[in-house]
């Protein structure tokens, strides 16, 4: 029994471990985030604008509900890092003369903030420092607003604003090619021609005031200063990304453990049932001695509870360990000063209570049976098992079944409920592995589609201001540039009734060759001459279908408000957006044939030359490299995924082992006598093993394909649940995923089959003949 108990305990442990791992990270991340936000005065409202005089801040503070305000200068820079040739861009943020800002205070890892008088000092974000091994007193060359400057690092810091650091326009973190730099207010204002002015505002509001009111007032106040509209914390990128992650952890804390506990309940039911039927006589003797039903029930409950406790203990330890490991991954990914390791004891108690109750419920039927067995009846051996000729045999009456095959079929048919649950258990194990692994193929497809099919440019250059399309010809003539394509991009807010969405509107030239808009089947969608194409996710969020009119508020320039028809729906995996024809967009925005983004294809041999030229080109705001994006993606996500895949496969294996091992052992226990009888009659060890292992094979043959099906369904659920603005993972289940799932299950089956085979060898033939069933 020890092996079987352990197998069940492991299944329970698997569920507890995943649950605890998710809970630990959920509460640790939540607690870390709120403490970080609180201690560093994270803003409730964010605004960026063209330019406003600093004295306006006085008026901002007077808006009812506003408690703290920081007016800042923000800007972009190109950086040169010694020994790193790829283009590097930076986001610059000013810090006030008084040191720490009122809102969005920095957490200093090393060094200090830049001094007021020094325009050549910077404090840099930890992710960037780590990626390049930068230290205090190292120097960086920066091109800010077209002017080259040498900056000295005086501090390394983190900010609640940049917990998840992503380059503007990018989708994934790229710590090497993007950094955040803090400079003194005076220094940055001078560099950006912003003396006496600010172009970014972050503020905190009183908790009892609705944020919307403050946002409305801000929008009105700042309208003539070129605001792109104030937005609340919920829309702040870093915050929102982290919130999505927390939601996923919560889902994981429920789904997986539910599956595991279900399987454990089934196993306990079967194993305890078997144990009690072999101990009928003991029960009878105990009852004859005067033990009460309650005492007998408690005795077997203790057995069940101790299995659950063992599972709880192993699961708790594994869960805490996995939690720490996952926490380590998170801390690499999310820039927190430190990760508070938190788990509410109440949750652990609740988890313990739920798992112990579930285990007890699993064994309940058998425990009750034992408790209520009248002693005289218990003294009798159990009534012989009743068998019958099964339906498949009738249907296949023309097949000459070997008798061992008949035994297999009839055994399975005798307890259809148990057989069905065994198949379900195997199916769940298969499904878990499928769900754990499909995401990798799905995400790979997503990324390969995005960068192989949708975005074919090597390099994306974002300009500070729109330029006439004729500038593209000059760019195309530069050495190393093979092809250029211009696009126009502006920040907009789409409004449909009370639904709003901030996104980018991209104007795409008629014969775009580098970056397209695609539909669900990855076919290029031709850009309609009039009207917008919307990402399907966005269309659903805004409740808009093709043919509808939508209000487009341009958050830039003249801040036009347009009514445009929705001409079609596109389907990207990454990001959301609105697209229209470049010509139509230029016309709608009442501007000439201008672009502010250039897509380039490069001569691979001259890439470095192009980078150098771009670095020295004024008006280039930032550059994004396709290969760099791909590399950084596979570095960060793939390693996370592989760990995850490994853990999930392990868990699937544990379930499969738990189910199959117990099925095999119970079968052996129930049929040891039959098998020994056959051995006596001259059947060889392998012929007899065939009966037991054949039964397992049938369970596998039925369970694995069912598991594929369930896995497909679960994967679909996961995909739907994981749809975010940032990405929508396509459902891709490859043959490799299915094969892996089957292999994990079959490997567990082979292991349990082998143990059973060894046990069968030790069968005592003589003892069997001496006992009555």
């Amino acid at each position: 029994m020890r092996g079987q108990m352990l197998a069940i305990a492991l299944v329970i442990a698997g569920g507890i471990a995943v649950c605890l791992m998710s809970l630990v990270n959920y509460s640790s991340l939540s607690a870390t985030r709120s403490q970080y936000y609180q201690q560093h005065q994270f803003a409730d409202v964010f605004v960026s604008l063209k330019r406003a005089p600093r004295h306006l801040l006085q008026q901002v503070t007077q808006i009812p509900g506003v408690t703290r305000v920081s007016g800042r200068v923000e800007g972009g820079a190109k950086l040169e890092v010694a020994g790193f040739d790829d283009p590097v861009s930076a986001h610059l943020v000013s810090v006030p003369e008084t040191g720490q800002p009122e809102v969005n205070q920095l957490y200093l890892r090393h060094g200090r903030l830049p001094e007021i008088s020094r325009s050549d000092e910077v404090t840099i974000i930890g992710s960037f420092a780590d990626a390049h091994g930068l230290q205090l007193d190292d120097q960086l060359n920066a091109i800010i607003n077209g002017r080259r400057q040498t900056l000295t690092i005086v501090g390394i810091a983190e900010s609640p604003e940049f917990i998840y650091v992503i380059p503007p326009g990018g989708m994934l973190p790229d710590y090497q090619r993007f950094g955040v730099l803090w400079m003194s207010q005076a220094g940055l204002a001078a560099a950006m021609d912003m003396k006496g002015a600010f172009n970014s505002l972050v503020l905190q509001t009183a908790p009892n005031r609705p944020v919307e009111d403050v946002i409305d007032q801000l929008d009105r106040l700042l309208e003539r200063y070129g605001t792109t509209g104030a937005y609340a914390r919920a829309d702040q990128f870093s915050h929102r990304f982290l919130s999505d992650e927390l939601e996923q952890l919560k889902a994981m804390a429920i789904i997986f453990p539910a599956i595991f506990m279900g399987v454990a309940m089934f196993l306990l039911n079967v194993v305890v049932g078997r144990l009690i039927s072999t101990q009928r006589e003991v029960i009878a003797v105990l009852k004859a001695f005067g033990y009460s039903n309650r005492q007998i029930g408690w005795h077997y409950s203790q057995l069940v509870l101790s299995i659950a406790l063992a599972g709880l203990l192993i699961g708790t330890l594994a869960g805490l360990w996995l939690g720490r490991m996952l926490g380590g991954l998170y801390i690499e990914y999310y820039r927190f000063p430190e990760l508070l390791f938190r788990i509410s004891p109440l949750w652990v108690l609740a988890l313990a209570f739920v798992s112990l109750s579930a285990a007890w419920l699993g064994g309940w039927r058998s425990i009750r049976q034992a408790a209520s067995l009248p002693p005289a009846e218990a003294m009798q051996p159990e009534a012989p098992a009743r068998y019958q000729v099964t339906l498949p045999e009738r249907w296949l009456s023309w097949v000459r079944f070997q008798q061992p095959s008949r035994m297999i079929v009839r055994q399975l048919a005798r307890r259809p409920g148990r057989t069905a649950l065994s198949i379900a258990g195997i199916a769940m194990a298969t499904a878990i592995v499928v769900v754990g692994n499909f995401q990798f193929s799905s995400v790979s497809l997503m990324v390969h589609t995005q960068f192989g099919r949708v975005q074919q440019q090597d390099l994306t250059v974002t300009l500070t201001d729109p330029v006439n399309q004729s500038a593209l010809y000059a760019m195309a003539r530069q050495p190393g540039v093979l092809y250029t394509e211009g696009r126009r991009q502006v920040a907009i807010e789409l409004v449909n009734g009370h639904r709003r969405w901030r996104t980018a509107l991209t104007g795409i030239p008629e014969h775009a060759e580098l970056q397209f808009v695609v539909d669900k089947n990855l076919n290029t969608v031709s850009i309609p001459p009039v009207g917008l194409l919307l990402t399907d996710y966005l269309a659903v969020a805004l409740n808009i279908s093709p043919g509808d009119q939508v209000q487009v508020r341009v958050l830039d320039g003249q801040r036009l408000s347009l009514q445009l028809p929705v001409a079609g729906i596109s389907s990207e995996f990454l990001g959301v957006g609105a697209y229209m024809s470049l010509a139509a967009m230029n016309q709608a925005l009442r501007e000439g044939p201008v672009v502010n983004q250039v897509l380039l294809n490069l001569d691979p041999d001259l890439v470095d030359t192009v980078y150098r030229d771009l670095r020295n080109t004024p008006r280039v705001l930032g550059t994004a490299l396709r290969q760099a994006m791909l590399d950084s993606f596979f570095e960060t996500l793939a390693s996370t995924f592989l760990t995850y895949t490994f853990i999930i496969s392990l868990l699937g294996g544990i379930i499969a082992f738990g189910v199959i091992y117990n099925t095999a052992r119970i079968s052996l226990a129930e049929r040891g006598r039959d098998l020994a009888s056959l051995r006596v009659l001259g059947y060889s060890h392998n012929e007899v093993s065939h009966i037991l292992l054949g039964e397992l094979a049938i369970l596998l043959i039925l369970g694995i394909p069912l598991g594929w099906g369930i896995g497909f369904g679960l994967a679909n659920l996961v995909i739907t649940a994981l749809q975010t603005e940032l990405y929508r993972v396509p459902l891709v289940i490859t043959g490799k995923t299915l094969a892996l799932a089957a292999n994990v299950v079959v490997a567990s089956a082979l292991l349990s089959g082998f143990i059973t085979w060894l046990r069968l060898r030790k069968l005592d033939l003589v003892a069997v003949l001496k006992t009555r069933e």
């Binding site: 012989p384 008798q403 008949r406 005798r414 039959d674 001259g682 003949l769």
Partner: protein, 239 residues
Amino acid sequence: MITQPNQPVFHTSGLTKTYHQGEVQVHALRGVDLDLYAGELVVMLGASGSGKSTLLNILGGLDVPTSGEVKYLDTDLTRATDKELTRYRRDYVGFVFQFYNLIPSLTARENVIAVTEIARNPMEPDAALELVGLANRADHFPAQLSGGEQQRVAIARAIAKQPNVLLCDEPTGALDSATGILVLAALEKANRETGTTTVIITHNASIAQMADRVITLSDGTISGEHHNATRQDPRSLSW
């Protein structure tokens, strides 16, 4: 296998068997010398613990002696491997046990087929059932048969492979006397009609009268042996 006129089917000499039961050492056999001949119906009598079952298990290739020698014709069973013993049981031995040991998931006929389909020279399964008078119960599962019927199915299963020896361990032990007699009659008939060397072990002395030869075991050794002048019809027995 051809049997020489006077060559015994089984020959044992100095057979001993010792095993451990918990912490106690049990000497089940203490030097047994025995020859059994073709076609004989032998009854081995002995009290519980006399070693008769151990002897039968060794003869049937289910167990190996601690020392001494046991031969089936020219085959030495003393040092046979598990594989060789399996082969021996499969090809030459028919067993009947006190608790029938039928496969509950197979019908009477299928229980017989389970043996005939691995045997070298089996008779028709239905003919075997006919021989024990159960042709009409062939499609019943063991749970649907009485104890006596189950034991007769076990006999049909044992003789269906046309074994060279039929070893029966307390075949009537779990049956009332009327049913027991039916079972013994079936065994006697099988022995008479197929000429199979038959060994019946029992603690029931009344059964001895149906034998050609009666061997008595006590305390692990042979304590007596006699030949019956005539075998009595089992139907005339009573206990």
